[in-house]
C-alpha cells in the first residue's frame, strides 16, 4: 500500500530571517543576507563573502548539557525545528508517545573538529576537550542532538549528499512514509557558517570575489556571475502520511508528490546536463504530471559559471516548450550547502502560501543558456499550484522534489 505524503510543518533560521515571517518578508522584498567577513580574509580566504547567520542564545531555553553538545548548525536546526513543530502543532507529549523520526541533511562539522584537535595539541591531552566535544564533531550531530532533545522514537540518522543533502533527506523521508515505514518524520537540513568549514571550498576558487558589493555578489544565471557565496543555517520540513495528518487534525500545507534522483557518473565537481535531467524526468514521471503543470522551478543555481549553465540547459531540454517561472533564492541567501535542499522547500512553500515568486536578484543580463529560461528578475505576484525544487551536489548527486499545493475539499 502506498501512502500520500503531506507537509504539516515548516521552520527556518537563515541568513535572510530567523523565522518564517522574517524570511517571507525578505523573499518578497528581494533582501540579501550576504556580508563581507574580514576574519576570513585574515584567515587567508580568497573570498571573504558569506551569508551572515547569527548564533541563537539558547541559555534558559535548553539546559547546559544539551547546549554543550550542540555545534552551531545544531543550534540553527533546533531553532527551525521548534518553529516547525509549532506550525505542525506537535506537543512534547505526542513525541513521547509516538514514533516520530528525524532525517536531516548535514555533511560536515568542521569547527568542533578543528577546535578540539587544537586543544589536544596544545594541552597534550584529549580529556581537555570536554564532554560535549565528540557529540559536536560528528556528521550526525544534528539528528543525534535533536532526537535527544525532543525525545524522538522513530527513524534517526543524517543524510550526507553534499549540496543535495537537505533535499535527499526530505526525499528519503518521503520514501519511508510513502511505503508505510513511518507515519511522521522531521526532515531538514543544517549548515555551519564559520571560517573552518569553507576553507577547502575557497581553495577551489569557487567563490565570488565581488567584495565591494556583497549584496550584489551572488548572481545566479547572470552573465557576469563570478562564483558562489557560501552561507548556512537550519531548515525543517515536517512530513507525515495523509491519514496521520488528518487523524491529528493538523493543517496541511502541501503534498510531496515526487522525489527524483540520479548520479552523474562523471566528473566529481563539474556538472552535467544529463544527470540532473534524469532526476527531473524521474520526478515528473513519479508524480504523473506534465511539464506544463509545474508553475515554478526553484533552481539549484549557485552562481558558478559552469553549474548555472548546465542546469539552465537541463531545465530547457525538459521545460523549453512551456517555460515555467524560474528563480534561484541563492541570489539572496547565498549557497546554503547541506541546508539548501530543505531551506529551498521552505522558501518555495512560503511563496506558494503567499502567492508570489521570489526574485532572482542580481539577474541583470542573461547568458547564452539562461536566456532561454523564464527567470523572475523581479518579484512576481502569482499563484503557484505546483513547484519543482532542484538540488545538485559534488560527486554528481542530484535530487528533485515536486510539491503540490494542498486544497481543502
Amino acid at each position: 500500500m502506498v501512502h500520500r505524503v503531506v507537509i504539516t510543518g515548516i521552520g527556518i533560521y537563515s541568513s535572510i530571517g530567523k523565522d518564517l515571517n522574517e524570511v517571507a518578508d525578505s523573499l518578497y522584498n528581494g533582501k540579501s543576507g550576504i556580508v563581507l567577513d574580514q576574519i576570513r580574509k585574515q584567515h587567508g580566504y580568497r573570498s571573504g563573502l558569506t551569508g551572515y547567520v547569527e548564533r541563537p542564545n539558547l541559555r534558559n531555553v535548553l539546559d547546559r548539557r544539551a547546549r554543550i553538545m550542540l555545534p552551531e548548525q545544531g543550534e540553527f536546526a533546533y531553532m527551525s525545528t521548534i518553529e516547525a513543530l509549532k506550525v505542525a502543532k506537535f506537543e512534547q507529549d505526542y513525541l513521547d508517545t509516538h514514533s516520530v523520526g528525524i532525517l536531516f541533511g548535514n555533511d560536515s562539522s568542521a569547527k568542533p573538529v578543528i577546535e578540539s584537535n587544537d586543544i589536544v595539541r596544545e594541552k597534550g591531552s584529549t580529556i581537555m576537550v570536554g564532554s560535549g566535544s565528540v557529540f559536536q564533531t560528528m556528521n550526525s550531530t544534528v539528528t543525534m542532538n535533536l532526537s535527544t532533545i525532543f525525545r524522538l522514537k522513530g527513524i534517526n540518522f543524517t543524510v550526507s549528499g553534499a549540496c543535495a543533502s537537505g533535499s535527499h533527506a526530505i526525499g528519503l523521508g518521503y520514501t519511508f512514509i510513502k511505503h508505510g515505514y513511518q507515519d511522521c518524520i522531521i526532515c531538514g537540513g543544517a549548515q555551519e557558517v564559520n571560517p573552518y568549514s569553507m576553507g577547502n571550498f575557497d581553495a577551489l576558487g569557487a567563490f565570488s570575489i565581488r567584495e565591494d558589493a556583497p549584496h550584489k555578489a551572488s548572481r545566479p544565471f547572470d552573465r557576469d556571475r563570478d562564483g558562489l557565496v557560501p552561507s548556512g543555517g537550519g531548515a525543517t520540513v515536517i512530513i507525515e502520511s495523509l491519514e496521520h495528518a488528518l487523524k491529528r487534525g493538523a493543517s496541511i500545507l502541501g503534498e510531496i508528490i515526487a522525489y527524483g534522483f540520479s548520479s552523474n557518473g562523471a566528473h566529481i565537481s563539474n556538472p552535467t546536463v544529463e544527470g540532473p535531467a534524469i532526476a527531473i524526468e524521474m520526478s515528473l514521471k513519479q508524480a504523473g504530471v506534465k511539464n506544463s503543470e509545474i508553475d515554478y522551478i526553484n533552481a539549484h543555481a549557485t552562481a558558478t559559471l559552469a553549474g548555472d549553465a548546465t542546469e539552465a540547459r537541463s531545465i530547457n531540454t525538459i521545460f523549453g516548450a512551456v517555460k515555467p517561472l524560474v528563480s534561484s533564492t541563492k541570489s539572496m541567501t547565498g549557497h546554503e550547502c547541506w541546508m539548501s535542499g530543505a531551506s529551498e522547500i521552505v522558501y518555495s512553500m512560503l511563496m506558494m502560501e503567499k502567492g508570489f515568486v521570489a526574485p532572482n536578484i542580481n539577474f541583470e543580463n542573461p547568458d547564452e543558456e539562461s536566456a532561454n529560461l523564464n527567470i523572475a528578475a523581479k518579484k512576481i505576484d502569482t499563484n503557484i499550484d505546483m513547484f519543482l525544487s532542484n538540488s545538485f551536489g559534488f560527486g554528481g548527486t542530484n535530487s528533485s522534489l515536486i510539491v503540490k499545493k494542498w486544497k481543502n475539499n
Binding site: 541559555r59 547546559r64 548539557r65 554543550i68 594541552k123 591531552s125 580529556i127 581537555m128 576537550v129 570536554g130 564532554s131 560535549g132
Partner: protein
Amino acid sequence: MSQEEIAEKIVPYLEEEFEIDGKLITPEANLRNTLQLDSLDYVDLVVVIESNFKFKIKPGDFQNINTFSDFYAYVETALIQKEQENILNAEINSQRNGV
C-alpha cells in the same frame, strides 16, 4: 595553597561552567548533587581543574570525593604532590645538564 585559597579560585569557574549560584557551593554541600553532575560532566570538571591548577585528575578519583570540602582537600594534596615532583624533576634535569 590552602583549602580556602583553592575554594576561592575554583568556585567562580564552577559557577560558570555548571551554571549554578555560587551561594550553593558550601564546604559541606554534596559535589555531585549541587553541580548536578552526570557521568559526562566529570570530564568537564577535569577540564576546569586542569585549567586552574595544572594537574590532571582522573575521573576515577572522584569516588572518594563527596563534599566540596573533600574536593578542596584532594586538590590541596595533589598540589603538594605536584610541587614535590616539580622540585625533583628540576633538580634531576639541572644535574643532568650540568654533568
